[in-house]
Amino acid sequence: QAKEQFFPLLSYRTGPYAPNGTPWANGKQDYLKMINARDGGINGVKLTYEECETGYATDRGVECYERLKSHPGVALFDPQSTGITFALTEKAPVDKIPLITLGYGLSISQDGMAFKWNFPLQGSYWTGADIIIQAIAKREGGFDKLKGKKIALVYHDSPFGKEPIPLLQERARMNGFELQLLPVTAPGVEQKATWLQVRQSRPDYVMLWGWGVMNSTALKEAQATGYPRDKMYGVWWAGAEPDVKDVGEGAKGYHALALNTSGQQPKVMQDILKYVYAKGQGTGPKDDVGSVLYTRGVIIQMLSNEAVRTAQARFGKGKVMSGEQVRWGLENLNLTQAKLDALGFNGVMRPISTSCADHMGSTAARIETWDGKKWNITSDYIEADEQIIKPMVKAGAAKYLADKKMTPRTPADCQSEG
């Protein structure tokens, strides 16, 4: 049998979230193509993939998972949706396939001792929310200045949008600001009432926790009600080109979290253009290469590949890794700045290193700001506050385990993975 490592790609190129899902999926696919073309795979193991359309619907996602999970050489799944992640969290341990959920999914799954198979790499909603509050505090000139301020959370009315609430409530208690919760019914095409409420209560800042059409609609309503865009902070799922592109100038000044940069300058993008697009094998249009979500897709795939590479280093170079072995690789990632540079990701993202207990690997993000034409990074990396998040993750994970009548992994389990 040919030596092939298989990457199932769940994606959505149809449905309400297609404009966001498509570049993301393209990035993953292009990176795979590029690695095969440039390096011939990972240590000689060819990378194969198959895409399965979920349309962002949980049941179709589960069907895709079932269809692709028994493909030989399957490495891991990236469900690309919070709902699908929830459903697969139950199934992955049974099938022994890791799930990576970069920047989304369950925040408590950061705890590798409770969630052996989940990897919310680079950040969860809790870290994201925390970073935004920090950024606002910095702008105000210190956490004490937050006292008495009012911050509104305009969120997608779904588990995705509700995840940050516990953290924000914690923060509100700590820092003494008032939190106003404004849910927006999915998909978010009608937000007049929400923004009238914003206009009435005049919060000092608005946090935008949206996905898909909800983001651009929010920005347009903000414009229409005259809410200053530079007082708005979006999560990293509300900080890509589709969210602001057709608002254009109207979104000028709007901030969002950035897990990664955008643009075609980094070497990895150049390589993709050279090895994939120049040969006419690009998945999407050339101009989209290097967009925010595209870059995120590339990063996700890069991290997946590196997990395989790490695993190979331990279990045998040039071999096809099993799901369990890839899981070990994910748990022992150590991408230093030097390594990132070598991979062509200089400046694109933060170094990341995971462990058995910490499945996130990095909790920092920057702020980017829309200037009417493109996104610019406008802050340094801000680390989420461990002091707040750690206990919450611990408590949440403990409750999860108790509900499921499960016991946490032992440190021995961390060592003995073979």
Binding site: P19, P183, T185, S216, Q223, T225, G226, P242, D246
Partner: protein
């Protein structure tokens, strides 16, 4: 008080925008007895066509004058909607004469899927922009009376004016013209209409063409508000309570229904929402429509539902 008025105004404007979509439903229902679930897909399809041609036409022809190219794009999109209407009649409706309402409803759902797929494969599935020069920034009126003034949206005002004009025109059309009468006859009984020489096929093409143009206008306005992308088709779900509240068969009902639903849902969200955690407007709109229906099962202006033995 100022805020209440603002909410009220916002609701009225939102309502007008719903009516624009609702109008498409009413039109087809009134004229053929078909509850057209593909209306949302038609709005999307038309908006996609409009958005893409307003990019393509300047690129192809090099015409610099934007209003002109936009007009051309509108015309091309309208022509495309005519072709779509013709195809729908040829390939689907023609073969479903005299079938039950549920069957026809189902067929329109199939058509909706088809058009969503087709639209996105021809015109792309990203977000596109329709910029017909609608002013986006708020204006404040009556700032003498209320501190800070009352916020209104020029864009909404223009949209409302367009919706009102369309409704007026279509009402006239249905009221007393012979074709209007024939359309209503078709909705009542396909077979009998055929038997007296009303050419169903031609009528359906006409009605779907008109509905296509209404969808185009709705798509243009909603698209310039939301950006043109898949979610545009979901505005149909927000227009449904409007349709039934106003009455499935009434063109003016679409406007009145829109206003009631718009105001109702905004007021409820703003004044009731905070007590129950918010996010209630969508089901509130449906419940509001339901309450009205309990008093008038045919909607405010709908034709009386006839059951007689």
């Amino acid at each position: 008080m100022a805020f209440f008025l603002e909410t009220l105004l916002g609701g009225l404007m939102a309502g007008m925008l719903y009516s624009l979509v609702a109008l498409g439903f009413v039109l087809i229902f009134k004229a053929s007895g078909v509850f057209n679930f593909a209306q949302g897909a038609m709005v999307l399809f038309a908006a996609l066509a409009m958005a893409r041609f307003s990019e393509w036409i300047p690129a192809w022809t090099g015409l610099p004058y934007k209003p002109l190219t936009d007009l051309l794009a509108f015309i091309v999109a309208a022509l495309i909607m005519f072709v779509v209407a013709w195809l729908i009649e040829r390939l689907a409706l023609r073969h479903l004469v005299n079938q039950e309402a549920t069957t026809l409803l189902m067929a329109t759902l199939g058509i909706a899927y088809f058009m969503e797929g087709l639209g996105q494969s021809i015109f792309g599935d990203s977000i596109y922009k329709i910029d017909i020069g609608m002013p986006k920034d708020p204006v404040f009126i009556l700032d003498k009376v209320f501190p800070g003034g009352l916020l209104v949206n020029k864009e909404d005002l223009i949209a409302a004016a367009i919706a009102a004009t369309l409704v007026a025109l279509l009402s006239l059309f249905f009221q007393e013209t012979a074709t209007g009468r024939a359309l209503r006859a078709v909705a009542d009984d396909h077979q009998a209409a055929q038997s007296i020489g009303i050419p169903l096929n031609r009528i359906w093409v006409i009605v779907w063409c008109v509905a296509g143009v209404v969808a185009l206008v709705a798509g243009m306005i909603w698209g310039s508000k939301l950006g043109v992308q898949f979610s545009l088709s979901t505005v149909a779900l927000r227009a449904l309570p409007v349709v039934i509240l106003g009455g499935l068969t009434s063109v003016p009902g679409a406007i009145v229904g829109g206003l009631i639903i718009g105001v109702g849902e905004k007021l409820s969200e703003v004044y009731l929402g905070p007590f129950v955690g918010g996010g209630i407007e969508i089901w509130f709109a449906y419940v509001l429509a339901l309450v009205f229906l309990l008093f008038r099962p045919q909607g405010l202006f709908g034709e009386k539902i006839i059951d007689r033995v």
